[in-house]
């Protein structure tokens, strides 16, 4: 027992002097959480503040074109300005507007007919416009035109229809209400960017435990301290366990600290506050399993490299790759399907999926056992690899 206590004490002594590692473990994820939560807030927000700039030009002054313009401008997500049709391409370029529409002469007449062979609307799309913006724009324009068309046809069939009745028909009806799925239940609480960024950057920083671990471990191997400890009856199991315990504590402090950043610091800067749901026990289990996986991975890596520089470089690059494919840097849902399949190879993704399942769906351990099992297997494999390498190295050292 005294040997374990000594090992734990030693790791804390070393860690408290490793300021750079502590910065990476605590300051880096806090900043990432803050920045990414604010940067992605609108992408997650249902009351989006994202506006696509769009321009409209009318070559016809009719009640249909006026109605079209008025209803187009009422659609959320677009910031409209007007110009002359001949100057529209130049104006769009000058003002960085990516989307434009020109109402051609004959629009009013076309809206009274069943079908029109000659389009009376011209869309101008800049090459920089994203496919999503293009689709939204086309849908908005087509939907508005269809509505004007429907009302005008109704008035053709009913010549006694008053202006008020036409306007009433054009009023947007509320067709649906929105609820968000939370497991098998529904909720009116919407998902936020902070629910993605807190677990994502927490996991990223947990894997950076490689820095303090390798700083100590590589030196122990290089300076022959492992052989000295072996002569003092310290087994490899003893050594690995007494390394895992302090770093596990550090990981758990990171976990609590990052939740606090999400809950209390991000709102101070205008972001949404993190809601962690009701399943605190499951969160603690995920955090513990993730910690086991990240520490074992760090120990395995630190057992194979020769210098701390190598550990930091190789570990850093691998972490960034795991993060990039694992949905840490870019949420998985915006990735194409083949990239989402690739995420299955990142242990960071297994952890992130577990956290998100708890935050967004109120899931329990029953729902995330597969991800947790994968993390435990990964951690056990890495730990076994580290023990095998150290054992071999101790024999080779002599």
């Amino acid at each position: 027992m005294r040997k374990y206590a000594a090992g734990i004490l030693k790791e804390f002594w070393l860690l408290k002097r490793d300021i750079h590692a502590l910065m990476v473990l605590f300051v880096m994820p806090s900043l990432f959480i803050l920045i990414m939560s604010l940067a992605m807030r609108d992408a997650f927000s249902q009351n989006s503040e994202v506006h696509f700039k769009a321009m409209v030009a009318c070559e016809e002054n009719s009640s249909a074109s006026r109605d079209f313009l008025a209803h187009l401008k009422a659609i959320k997500g677009f910031e409209w300005s007007e110009g002359k049709s001949t100057q529209l391409p130049a104006l769009m370029m000058e003002h960085d507007v990516l989307l434009g529409v020109i109402v051609r002469p004959g629009f009013d007449e076309a809206t009274h007919k069943n079908s029109s062979q000659n389009p009376k609307l011209t869309l101008l799309i800049a090459p920089e416009a994203t496919p999503l913006a293009k689709i939204l724009f086309e849908t908005a324009v087509a939907g508005t035109a269809a509505k004007i068309n429907m009302v005008n046809q109704m008035s053709s069939l009913n010549p006694w229809m008053t202006r008020e009745e036409k306007e009433e028909a054009l009023v947007e009806k509320v067709w649906f209400e929105e609820h968000f799925l939370q497991g098998k239940d529904t909720t009116d609480i919407r998902p936020t960017s902070v629910q993605q960024s807190v677990p994502a950057w927490l996991i990223f920083s947990m894997f950076f435990i490689i820095i303090p671990i390798s700083n100590t471990f590589v030196n122990e191997r290089r300076l022959g301290t492992l052989a000295r400890l072996a002569v003092m009856n310290v087994s490899i199991g003893n050594l690995l366990v007494s390394k895992m315990i302090p770093y596990f504590v550090i990981n758990q402090i990171q976990f609590i600290a990052m939740l606090m950043v999400g809950m209390f610091i991000v709102p101070l800067f205008g972001g949404d506050a993190l809601r962690i749901g009701d399943n605190i026990g499951a969160l603690l289990v995920v955090s513990s399993v993730l910690s086991f996986a990240s520490i074992s991975y760090a120990l395995a890596l630190a057992s194979f490299v020769r210098t701390t520089d190598q550990a930091v470089t190789i570990g850093g690059v691998l972490n960034i790759i795991f993060a990039a494919i694992g949905g840490i840097m870019i949420p998985l849902f915006v990735m194409p399907p083949f990239m989402q399949q690739l995420a299955l190879f990142s242990p960071m993704s297994w952890g992130l999926e577990s956290f998100l399942a708890i935050f967004l769906h109120n899931s329990g351990l029953n729902d995330i056992w597969l991800s947790l099992g994968a993390l435990i297997l990964f951690g056990s494999f890495c730990l076994g690899l580290a023990a095998w390498k150290l054992n071999r190295e101790l024999k080779e050292a002599q």
Partner: protein, 237 residues
């Protein structure tokens, strides 16, 4: 204190140790010398229990080393050639850590740290980080760790390599004091023949994996002016 009986160790086809036997009496300072590749490091590894021999037996204080490794190792204080320390910890923290590993605690640990600190003249720098120590101070701390808990048997592997004269003197004097006052058995390897000659009362000379000379220094060197001359005349021919 140490009885080595027909120990053989092969690395592939090459015999690093070829059926060597010797004994190290309790309280002696025994110099283990030989050219590079003679088998000193392999022998040291076997005596520490880090390498298992292909055949033969080793007894430490009457205990069969490979049958009861934990108990046998408790008698050994090991000072490796590399300064196996934690440079970012202070000297005191290093001593506390290795002391706890050695099984010391409470007053025993405090007393032992004080004792080895005085013996190696590190009192003034003990609360400084080891990375700020000179090479000689680091070697002295390396020795101090080996002395923790006052082990009855001490293995020293080139403890004075790259050390300044002052630290060398402190190290050698400490070893002599340990042997004379405590009766510590010391097995000492070094390339500095003058050091061996000065402190060792017995010699084991290894060459090509076999013991070519073993006995009291005074007896072995009685017809030579120095150890260097003895080796030139008897071993390096």
């Amino acid at each position: 204190m140490i009885v080595v009986c027909t120990v053989t160790k092969y690395f592939g086809e090459k015999a690093a140790l070829n059926g060597i036997s010797f004994s190290v009496p309790r309280g002696s300072i025994t110099g283990l010398i030989g050219r590079n590749g003679a088998g000193k490091t392999t022998l040291m590894g076997i005596l520490c229990g880090l390498i298992r021999p292909d055949s033969g037996s080793i007894q430490i204080g009457g205990i069969e080393l490979f049958d009861n490794m934990t108990l046998a190792r408790e008698m050994i204080g090991y000072v490796p050639q590399k300064t196996s320390l934690y440079p970012e910890m202070t000297g005191r923290e290093n001593l506390m850590y290795f002391g706890l590993i050695r099984g010391l605690g409470g007053k025993k640990l405090t007393d032992s740290i004080h004792e080895v600190m005085v013996a190696t003249s590190l009192e003034e720098v003990l609360d400084r980080r080891v990375s700020h120590y000179s090479g000689g101070m680091q070697k002295r701390l390396n020795l101090a760790i080996g002395l923790l808990g006052n082990p009855p048997l001490l293995y020293l592997d080139e403890p004075t390599v790259g050390v300044d004269q002052e630290s060398r003197e402190i190290i050698l004097e400490t070893l002599l004091k340990m042997s004379h006052e405590r009766g510590t058995t010391i097995l000492y390897t070094s390339h500095y023949l003058q050091e061996i000659e000065r402190i060792c009362d017995r010699l084991i000379i290894l060459d090509d994996g076999v013991v070519v000379a073993n006995g009291l220094s005074a007896t072995l060197l009685r017809e030579s002016e120095s150890l260097e001359q003895y080796l030139e005349e008897n071993i390096q021919k």
